[in-house]
Structures are given as structure tokens and as C-alpha cells.
């Protein structure tokens, strides 16, 4: 077992894991944070996207032990403690940016990461940036709409 200390959604965590534990398995199985999904387990779909030090990664393709000392944010870390949704989550709800919701945590974590990059929010460019996130049911029209609305709301809420 390998000792590991990291921060998950602002909380310091100390655990021992097998070296082969994937970040997504640490989150889901050990920490009970099942909002991060496994869609493919072959690094294609982006359902498992979380932030490591503010940058998006596919947590099915990163070892937990490779993130020692880092700060992880998952979909559970976005909403306020009182249950109010994060502006990007609210925008996905308002714009019908989800149907089954399977891809949604990864989509939203990706959207939050690019929300402050103005030049990426132009629709054609945004579709490019969402290349690593596959949705099988909503279609991308409303997802693109949601990301743009969510980014705007994030800016307004400071």
C-alpha cells in the first residue's frame, strides 16, 4: 500500500491505496464521491473528468498515487453547502443541457475550467474544446448553449 495525502473538494484526505488505484476509483469507491462517472474506462469519453490543481484530467487515466499533494475538485465540490447549484450546473438545468446525465459531471467540470477563457467560448471553438467529452443522448446543441450561459452567469456572480 502507498500512503497518499491530497485535498479533495477543499478537505484534506490521508489514505493508503494500492499503487494501481485509479483516481476515479479512489473518488468513487474509497471516498464515496460517485458523482464522477466511468463511461468508457479507456480514456475516450470524459465522463470521469475532474480538476487537479484547477486543470481538467480524465480520472480513469491517472493513478491516485500520481496526485500526491495535489488539489482535486469533483462535481460534488461545485454546489454551495446550502444546496444551491453552481451557476454552470444551473445553466445545464435551465438550457436542457442534459438528458440521462451520465456525461454531465464531466461536461460541467470541463465547462467550469474553460469558462473564463473568453476566446474558447465562441461556439465553433467551444465544440473543439468539448472534443474530449462525449454525450450520447442530449446532443451538443444545448450543451454548447448551457456552457455559454453558465460562463456568463459565472462572470456575473464574480
Amino acid at each position: 500500500m502507498v500512503p497518499l495525502s491530497l485535498t479533495v473538494n477543499g478537505k484534506p484526505i490521508e489514505v493508503e491505496v494500492e499503487a494501481r488505484t485509479l483516481m476515479v476509483d479512489l473518488l468513487r469507491n474509497t471516498l464515496g464521491l460517485t458523482g464522477t462517472h466511468i463511461g468508457c474506462d479507456t480514456s475516450q469519453c470524459g465522463a470521469c473528468v475532474v480538476h487537479v490543481n484547477g486543470r481538467t484530467i480524465k480520472s480513469c487515466s491517472v493513478l491516485a498515487v500520481a496526485c500526491d499533494g495535489e488539489e482535486i475538485t469533483t462535481i460534488e465540490g461545485l454546489a454551495c453547502d446550502d444546496g444551491r447549484l453552481h451557476p454552470m450546473q444551473q445553466a445545464f438545468a435551465d438550457c436542457h443541457g442534459l438528458q440521462c446525465g451520465y456525461c454531465t459531471p464531466g461536461m460541467i467540470m470541463t465547462a467550469v475550467a474553460i469558462a473564463d477563457e473568453e476566446d474558447l467560448l465562441e461556439p465553433a471553438r467551444l465544440r473543439e474544446e468539448l472534443h474530449g467529452n462525449l454525450c450520447r443522448c442530449t446532443g451538443y446543441q444545448n450543451i454548447v448553449k448551457a456552457v455559454i450561459a453558465g460562463a456568463d452567469a459565472m462572470k456575473r456572480s464574480g
Partner: protein, 272 residues
């Protein structure tokens, strides 16, 4: 995935000695190729030696003579976003920005990409066209010697890529026709110009992996224009055919991507 020992050395020397003690140990960079390979059981290392904590392997710097050095552990996203790379080698920044997707670019590294030497990977084409120097823990290897075929490099056992150096006053443009699913190159062509010397390197197309297209190099050295290529296409017999594209289609794409890269260099519109 089979379990393994995990090491996080703080120095290169420590990494080398761990590799020497355990024959089955493998280096871990971004893991974006290695982990999927291990999940499939195609690699079963007894230990992984993570390079992340070793200082000096990450980062981008300009040297006094105007050459550019990029540390092996620098991720694709950092190369793409670097003002220094954008200024000195904008074509390389643009290439890095077109590898895979943003999540893979945040993790995958230059060193991992070239050590792995996937026949459809992007960086190898640029390094070969730019005549880059691959610096390891023990020597310097010119790109012409480094890339030695499908998933094959000149790296010896336990040798660690530390830096890649690009000579000054060279420009590169890269044009890729990518697989819509993976973004790997079905054909990718890097054209580099240094004074009047032109080098053309092709990824994704060759039956034996990366290659220099010498016929195009000679034509473009005489006359740096799309017209100079005339009707040239590489011989389909030396190209790869698969579910994505036949050898004949790859030959045609090689010509088209070369023309696009030449046009980009001519118009200086290297970043799109």
C-alpha cells in the same frame, strides 16, 4: 490492472538506480499511453517510476544562442500555451494544441510521446523536421537517429529523456488530417525551413512509421512553393493501409498536408 510497486524519486540519479535494481520497472510520465496499455494487459511492469517530482524535467527556456529547450515532462497544454514557444516556434505550439483533447493535453508529456513513438503521434514529425536534439540522462541524440521505426527509438534500457532542444532560426508548420475519434494523425506532415534548407517529416502514413519525404524536400529546397511539388506523392507501397485509409489515400493526403504546411509557412499564419 495488475498491481505494481510505485516510486517517486526526487532526482534523476535515484530514478536510474531504481530502474537498475528492478528489470521490470518502467518510467511513468503522464500515463496517457502507459495506463491504457496496462489496463489492457499489454504492459505489466513490476514497478512504475514516476518522473513528476524530479526538478528540472519540466519547463521551457530560451538559451543564449536562441535555441529553445523543452523539458521532457512538460505537458502538451503547457507547450501550446507558452508565450516563448508561440514566439520562437509557433508551429510547434499549434501542433501541441491539436494533440488529443484538452484533458489528455493537461497530462501527456513531450518525453512520453517521443519515447513511446506511436507511428501516428504528432510530436515526432515536428522533431524530425526541425532536426531537434533529444537530450537524455547520458547523451544527446539527433532526431534522425532517435526515431527508429514503429514504437521504436534509439533509447537504450533505462535511458531517460530529459530535454528536447530546437535550433534557432528554424520555422515549422504542421498539417494533420486526424482521425475524428482519437485525433491521432491519419497523416500528419511537418515542414521545417531553416534558411533555404527544407525538411519534410511525415507521421501516420509510413508502413514503417515516421519518415522524411526526401523527394518533397529536394523540390521545396529548389522552390519553396506548393507548385514545386508538381504531381509528387510518396509511393503507396511504402505506406500503411488500415480501416481509416488505404495506402493510395494516404499518399494523396501526404501531398495535400505538405501543401497546407507550405502555405502556412508562406503566409506566416502558423497559429490558426
Amino acid at each position: 490492472m495488475q498491481n505494481f510497486d510505485f516510486h517517486r524519486p526526487q532526482t534523476l540519479a535515484e530514478a536510474v538506480s531504481i530502474l537498475a535494481e528492478d528489470e521490470g520497472a518502467k518510467l511513468l510520465a503522464g500515463g496517457q499511453t502507459l495506463l491504457p496499455t496496462m489496463k489492457q494487459g499489454l504492459a505489466t511492469p513490476s514497478a512504475l517510476v514516476a518522473l513528476r517530482a524530479i526538478p528540472g524535467l519540466t519547463g521551457i527556456r530560451a538559451c543564449d544562442d536562441g535555441s529553445l529547450e523543452i523539458g521532457a515532462m512538460t505537458c502538451h497544454a503547457d507547450v501550446a500555451a507558452s508565450p516563448l514557444v508561440q514566439r520562437l516556434l509557433p508551429g510547434l505550439a499549434a501542433l501541441a494544441n491539436k494533440i488529443a483533447d484538452r484533458h489528455v493535453r493537461n497530462r501527456g508529456t513531450l518525453g512520453g510521446s517521443i519515447a513511446n513513438c506511436d507511428p501516428a503521434a504528432d510530436y515526432p514529425a515536428a522533431l524530425l523536421a526541425l532536426d531537434a536534439t533529444i537530450v537524455t540522462d547520458r547523451r544527446e541524440i539527433p532526431a534522425d537517429e532517435f526515431f527508429a521505426g514503429l514504437f521504436t527509438t534509439a533509447l537504450e534500457d533505462r535511458e531517460i529523456v530529459t530535454t528536447v532542444r530546437f535550433a534557432p532560426a528554424t520555422r515549422v508548420a504542421y498539417a494533420k488530417f486526424s482521425s475524428p475519434a482519437s485525433r491521432y494523425a491519419i497523416v500528419g506532415v511537418a515542414v521545417a525551413a531553416s534558411g533555404s534548407a527544407v525538411r519534410v517529416a511525415v507521421t501516420g502514413a509510413g508502413a514503417d512509421g515516421l519518415f522524411r519525404w526526401e523527394e518533397a524536400e529536394a523540390a521545396l529546397t529548389r522552390d519553396f512553393s506548393p507548385e514545386a511539388l508538381g504531381k509528387f506523392e510518396p509511393d503507396p507501397d511504402m505506406l500503411n493501409g488500415d480501416m481509416h485509409a488505404s495506402p493510395a489515400y494516404r499518399a494523396s493526403l501526404t501531398r495535400t498536408m505538405t501543401i497546407r504546411a507550405v502555405r502556412t509557412l508562406l503566409s506566416e499564419r502558423i497559429l490558426d
